[in-house]
């Protein structure tokens, strides 16, 4: 068993910087794969606007990765999800280490400074500030390692997110109409093609949290519950029918994937939370064993039953 805080601190620090570096310079592999498939499809159909844009988008991904440059200048809001087993030994200075890593990554990669005081308008310059970076913790009794997932979440797409407190007697069609209506209004603003994270039920807070967590899932992984999986497919089909298209210019796919998580709702409430993600889907994880060995996974949170 490795002892001593300095060692753990260094590992944690390096881990956060590395995850931010992966995210700044690349989308998840499954996202890149589906964009390539869309380009193949569109170039055969003769849709020039879709083809030209997808082509440039893929060229950008390639160029960014090759040159180690941030693929999108909006390196986003840093969202950190920490899943820990019951006996994980946190240490004093755990959060401070994460904050220092975010600050270093901002300077080094570089990330764009994206934390602004809502009252003074002052940009902190280093992606820190109060309640920043965003760190979420969950106890997971099914793992015996620490899982840190970082998502760099762009602001443009985030702006199209919404919480709908639907009528408690709402049904599936109401959910679909609400979501489809919102995405339709959004047009090109969230940089389509988008990925939708949706939280159904819970309460106002839980539904938005579920929506954001849903985004961490791999591409095309359906919710294990059949009626939810069906709803995911239906919403995707509906959004794509008459969708705004790539960058809202009317051609090509509007929505790549829909991911729904659900929770019990109050009898009088029917919250539906939606977080919109752009095509520049940047998520990566690190699994840290009890011996503080790290394994990096580019993409989603990984299989909870995975052994190191």
């Amino acid at each position: 068993m490795v002892s001593g805080y300095p060692h753990k601190r260094e590992i944690l620090f390096g881990c956060i910087v590395r995850l931010l570096e992966i995210n700044a310079t690349s989308v998840t592999p499954d996202t890149e794969k589906i964009l390539k498939e869309e380009l193949d499809r569109e170039s055969k159909s003769g849709k020039n606007l879709a083809t030209a844009q997808l082509s440039l988008m893929l060229e950008n991904l390639h160029y960014g990765k090759e040159m180690g440059l941030p693929i999108c200048q909006d390196t986003g809001t840093v969202n950190i999800f920490i899943e820990f087993p019951p006996d994980f030994a946190f240490f004093k200075g755990f959060v401070q280490t994460i904050r220092e890593a975010v600050k270093t990554a901002t300077e080094k990669l570089p990330l764009r400074p994206n934390t602004v005081d809502p009252f003074t308008g002052r940009n902190e310059g280093n992606n820190l500030g109060y309640n920043a970076p965003h760190i979420y913790y969950e106890l997971n009794e099914d793992i015996d390692f620490l899982r840190i997932t970082v998502m760099n979440k762009g602001g443009g797409s985030e702006n199209m997110s919404a919480l709908f407190m639907l009528n408690s007697s709402s049904d599936i069609d109401d959910i679909i109409n609400t979501v489809v209506g919102r995405i339709s209004e959004a047009g090109g603003k969230p940089c389509p093609p988008v990925i939708l994270g949706i939280g159904i039920g819970g309460d106002a807070l839980m539904s938005m949290y579920l929506a954001k967590k849903a985004l961490l899932r791999p591409m095309f992984m359906r919710n294990p519950r059949k009626e939810i999986a069906d709803l995911e497919e239906r919403i995707k089909r509906e959004v794509n029918r008459n969708g705004a298209g790539i960058m809202g210019l009317g051609e090509g796919i509007t929505c790549l994937d829909v991911r729904i998580e659900a929770g019990m709702r109050h009898p009088a409430s029917f919250p539906v939370g939606m977080i919109v993600q752009c095509y520049s889907h940047r998520v990566s994880s690190a699994l840290i064993s009890k011996n503080w060995e790290i394994k990096y996974i580019h993409g989603e949170g990984g299989n909870p039953n995975e052994n190191l």
Binding site: N60, Y63, Q73, P110, N123, G125, N159, G187
Partner: protein, 184 residues
């Protein structure tokens, strides 16, 4: 189409500031000179990632420092790391006044500006795909300088740069009423 020459970035805060200047005509002499030099260039809705190559990066000074510092336009050696477009629709209510005050008819961005009539501006809206920040850096010959960085921060400052063959840009809204964002 492709664009070569001088362009400048302008997003929420720059638009709001120029809109205000256009109305109250209150500006420092240096600001007036810089803004005048932007005539007949192009506005790029963008919050880039740019670092100073030499010297310290200017962070946000305190409000007391800002007005006393006449070096508002920092010319220097910069590197642009990434600079894709931001959502143009946010600037809608300021766009016409800003374009007319600065005498600029080309607006580059993403997502379109449904509330702006480009025939009134006598100009065009050119779309560049969002997220294409890295490849944009390959079009930048030189970052000439920056205005209002200490006040607005890196993403919101007015960055002046010279580009070469920036594109392909899609003419998405023109001065004849053409609009690719509308579903007709």
């Amino acid at each position: 189409m492709y664009i070569s020459g001088k362009i400048f970035t302008a997003r929420d805060r720059v638009h709001k500031r120029i809109y205000k200047i256009a109305y109250d005509r209150k500006m420092e002499r240096e600001e007036a000179e810089i803004l005048k030099s932007l005539q007949n260039t192009a506005i790029y809705h963008c919050g880039p990632i740019i670092k100073r190559i030499n010297g310290d990066r200017v962070g946000c000074e305190s409000k007391e420092d800002i007005r006393s510092d006449f070096d508002m336009f920092f010319a220097g050696n910069y590197r642009l790391y990434s600079g894709g477009p931001t959502t143009s629709a946010r600037m809608e209510k300021y766009q016409k006044v800003v374009c007319s005050f600065l005498n600029v008819g080309i607006v580059i961005g993403k997502g379109g500006m449904p509330g702006v009539d480009f025939s009134e501006i006598g100009g065009v809206y050119l779309a560049f795909p969002g997220g294409c920040g890295a490849v944009f850096s390959s079009f930048v010959k030189k970052v000439v300088g920056v205005l209002w960085e200490s006040e607005f921060g890196m993403p919101e400052a007015l960055w002046v740069m010279e580009v070469e063959k920036f594109g392909p840009l899609i003419v998405a809204q023109d001065s004849y009423g053409g609009n690719l964002y509308r579903k007709d």
